[in-house]
Symmetry: C2
């Protein structure tokens, strides 16, 4: 075989909503050159016996202790000079985790969560990668039910709106939001109401499971981790 | 550096409309093992000094003589056993070319165009890759102006509808189609009409250029080839 011209790495952008209304992601401090001491996306070289998606799931597990419900391939980054010493092509995945999952995430010595809006200068081209992931997330909110990946099995319309507001970074009119969401088919009203002492507790909704959450299409063996199947 | 566990290849799915109303793609006959004699997607190992997108554009040029207006990354395929002899991770791009461009495409001894609906058994997992590309194309027709990549600068509503019918593989009601398209903002009516001796020649439309054709988002240097910028 020809000598490979590049090392293959898999990195993962892990988004969650923390403090209710801000997008956060965990980063890992690099403990060796290049970029020693700087923060970077979790990831590493592709293992010999793992698929790309398995590698991303392993990274997520090692960094946060979590198993993602939403894990999807984002993009392969492969400009010639993106790593100073040797050429590296990174296949990047993105994972979305619910706030209650994120609260349970383990946080090692060299792992810290950052607000997506206040990132330091990251190693390699990782700022560009996060920017691209944010762009895709915002874009995808417009035509898919990706927002649901941040919610539990039951949620109110106000909770769903808060997810949209956090990701799109602007307030949304509650009445317009209700009309638009109800016109779509992404959620289904349940007979349940939010627990609490209110006079008129808000109705709970659930996700319409007939629409796929991650858009893997006809890729059976290509493989998201088992949690996603 | 650690020894890379996989070879990196770039392949390209090149769709065009031929014979008016069917999706076609060019394939290359393999002249060496594995899969010698079978048809495969055009592509090859990533060159040392080219980005992923440059590699895809080069492949397209070598296979068809064409420079694509629409070239976008599709997906990275990396299951462990997708190549029999050594592990190969393929970053796959897709290109869409207009029928008039496809007619000018060169066709070498080992290059042949096939109907997307009548493919032979391809090398590696290339049938799966084409199936995934078709799924993405059909999916994307629903929410983007990707269909325009198959059309010239001026087109009638009937010509646009024919593109949708070819990709979606079903007839569309002309009146409904007109209403839906006019409700969107993807096309702009011109003051021109289709040339010809008809009593009421159909109006010509053009693409709304304020909407990006390829969705590369904030990826300036990541790079589509120059033709796309």
């Amino acid at each position: 075989m020809a000598t490979p011209v590049a090392q293959l790495a898999v990195s993962t952008v892990i988004f969650s909503l923390r403090a209710g209304s801000t997008l956060w992601l965990p980063l890992v401090r690099r403990i060796r050159e290049p970029f020693e001491g700087q923060w970077a996306l979790p990831g590493g070289p592709l293992g010999a016996n793992e698929s790309l998606a398995d590698s991303a799931a392993r990274t997520l597990q090692q960094t946060t202790g979590l198993t993602p419900r939403y894990l999807e391939q984002l993009y392969a980054f492969g400009t010639v000079d993106r790593s100073p010493s040797q050429r590296v092509v990174s296949v990047v995945y993105w994972a979305l985790v619910r706030p209650d999952e994120a609260e349970q995430a383990t946080e090692g010595e060299n792992v810290r969560w950052f607000s997506a809006d206040e990132l330091p200068e990251l190693a390699f081209d990782h700022n560009t990668i996060v920017e691209y992931a944010l762009w895709r997330l915002r874009n995808k909110m417009e035509y898919s039910r990706i927002a649901h990946a941040f919610l539990g099995e039951r949620f109110t319309l106000a909770q769903l709106r808060e997810v949209y507001e956090a990701v799109l970074r602007r307030p949304l009119d509650p009445a317009n939001f209700r009309r638009q969401i109800e016109a779509g088919q992404s959620i289904v009203a349940t007979d349940e109401y939010l627990a609490g002492g209110r006079h008129r507790p808000p109705r709970l909704y659930r996700t319409n499971e007939s629409i796929d959450l991650a858009e893997n299409g006809p890729l059976p063996e290509q493989g998201a981790p088992h949690a996603l199947r």
